[in-house]
Subunit: 371 residues, 2 copies
């Protein structure tokens, strides 16, 4: 293994090194208590400060309006796929879905599985899909038709497998909640939170380790959720009312999330992160485009993701060799999703510019030898 | 703060020091990959070994029959309260609950909240309760009447707030699944798993950090779960079919769980843990009983918990002083649950005998000065 390694994992993904060092530093003695954060009660004043710090940090980093609630949940985005329908669907008002990749298709499927629990009159449907072209793009704004009768419009802002991303926020008619699975780009660029009914994201791409999911709920979403009888941990309202301390939360994951958020705030917040993420992606796409077809991007230029850059080589044999040699050069996590193959470099917040520099140097050299 | 501290936290609770040291040791470089386990993909071979290791370790430690499935879930026991009803309740066959404390009452409440999702004919009911005597005991075997029509019998094997514990496993009629919330005593003593339909436990008492829940499901429970259409993460069957890798799992919590389980296996497994837990509890109860009423145990002797020893002092003023002085002496986490007050020492697996030794020395000295 090379001395320096660069982590292009698709999530769980790179974390800022100073955060990992801090975690290591205080792992056996948290704030002079003599106890590890891993053995600290979630009702202790020490953990309370961590919990509130994580929520306040997210509010600041993401500029969340004061009337929105920040929820810290378990179960990942897959659980949210069901909770969106369970909490927000109203009878006679279908949930509409933009299908831009495997995860948005899954969001629709899981909502469908929730329908028998909700009873007659509840429905969900796809209103746009790029499945026929292998999810190579997201819709243009003028292609979107949202029914004014819809309960909500659900979309996936960044598609990790195909490597596409919405460059805009969709418009919805009055009363139709905009719901976004932002698992792979929340906190990677500024977001106008007040346009959303609900935004959710597993932390393990841009915000922290696996094990905690952030949901940002508008007053309208919480109001709808209140109207339903649901088991507590399935109800946005019930979780919000207890400040996400309805039961033992995933203490350690929230602790690391807090440190990551504070680290990004100190680095300049979303504007600084967005600028760096843009530079990283630009360098990599320029390298693809300058390769005269040796490296072929999988997504259409107007839909290209700043987070996950997907590309192919002239043959699967060359792709295998690329992965092997990259690994030897300390460039890790570049394999495409098992459902599509090819290559993928995930460029989340904690991936430094130098990592992309090292990757494109390697790519040019690889092309020189094998092109 | 005293040089040595002892952790009597009710959960999240003490973890074995060698495990914490190992976590610290490899936090920045997991198995020579150059990456932290916190930034390792859940689809990587490294994490796969951790995941399988955790499951295999639990199978070995708890002697789980091969036809049972071990599930690793998020959401804590509170989510299980709902999942039990969603997965296992059949129309016309009520779920029956033994109410031996606040958590079993909560299990019933959350199941009630799940009923509207299940439709007509589904019901749950309490069939025994010690609420009137402040949950000071669990039922005697001869007090239990379980309907042969029940879907399942649910009970809480150890009650952390009241400090009671079942000294036996309840009998159920053929076809009635025995369901146990063993959050606070799983892995603290041998358990005859094959008598159960389902056993579940948040890891944060005896098995690891907060953020992962272990569920052990019988073939009968999985069969019932299959019969229902449920969102994937709410279905025991769907999670079992994907080996608890249906989506990104709580990687770090499972990693620590694996290390804890391996540590206990190396220490001699459940027989050794049970023997030590028994010695710890005996020493503390003997101290209460020898105090001529200065320390009064809250639970009846025949229902006393080996995990959570609850007691009172002659006045709340003395209790406050006890807590303060104990804290100064490095004895942490002794405050009773906020709903009942008083004092509580939690003696989970990772609390060493010396900790209890230090506690009883302190208690005798405190009584000498204030008794």
């Amino acid at each position: 293994m090379s001395a320096t390694v660069w982590n292009f994992n698709p999530g769980p993904a790179a974390l800022p090194r100073p955060v990992l060092e801090r975690v290591r530093e205080e792992l056996l003695d948290f704030e002079g208590t003599g106890l590890s954060i891993l053995e600290t009660s979630h009702r202790s004043p020490e953990y309370r400060r961590v919990h509130q710090g994580a929520i306040e940090g997210l509010r600041k980093l993401l500029e969340i309006p004061p009337d929105y609630e920040v929820l810290l949940l378990g179960g990942g985005a897959t659980l949210q796929f069901a909770l969106v329908a369970l909490n927000l669907l109203e009878p006679g008002h279908p949930g509409e879905y933009l299908i831009t990749g495997r995860w948005s298709a899954k969001a629709l499927q899981e909502a469908q599985k929730a329908l028998p629990l909700l009873g007659p009159g509840h429905a969900v449907r796809a209103t746009w899909s790029s499945e026929e072209t292998n999810y190579d793009r997201v819709p243009r704004p003028e292609e979107l038709v949202v029914s004014p009768e819809a309960s909500y419009l659900h979309y996936t802002s960044n598609n990790t497998i195909a490597g596409t991303q919405f460059p805009y926020v969709p418009e919805t008619p009055e009363g139709v909640l905009l719901v976004c699975d932002a698992s792979s780009d929340l906190a990677s660029r500024p977001l106008d939170v007040k346009r959303f009914g609900l935004v959710y994201a597993g932390a393990q791409k841009n915000l922290g380790p696996a094990g905690v999911t952030v949901a940002i709920a508008s007053p309208q979403a919480l109001e709808r959720s209140r109207a339903r009888g649901l088991p507590s941990l399935l109800s946005y309202r019930a979780v919000a009312e207890k400040d996400s301390l309805l039961n033992t939360p995933p203490v350690f994951a929230i602790y690391v999330l807090k440190l990551v958020v504070e680290h990004y705030l100190a680095e300049g917040g979303l504007p600084a992160l967005a600028e760096r993420n843009e530079r990283k992606a630009r360098l990599l796409y320029e390298t693809l485009d300058a390769s005269r077809g040796f490296y072929r991007g999988c997504s259409r230029p107007e839909s290209r993701s700043r987070m996950n850059v997907t590309f192919r080589l002239p043959s699967e044999e060359l792709e295998r060799r690329f992965l092997e040699e990259a690994r030897s050069a300390g460039l890790l996590g570049l394999k495409g999703h098992r459902s599509v193959g090819g290559l993928r470099a995930s460029l989340y917040n904690a991936v430094p510019f130098e990592a992309v520099r090292a990757l494109v140097d390697f790519m040019r050299e690889f092309q020189r030898r094998h092109g």
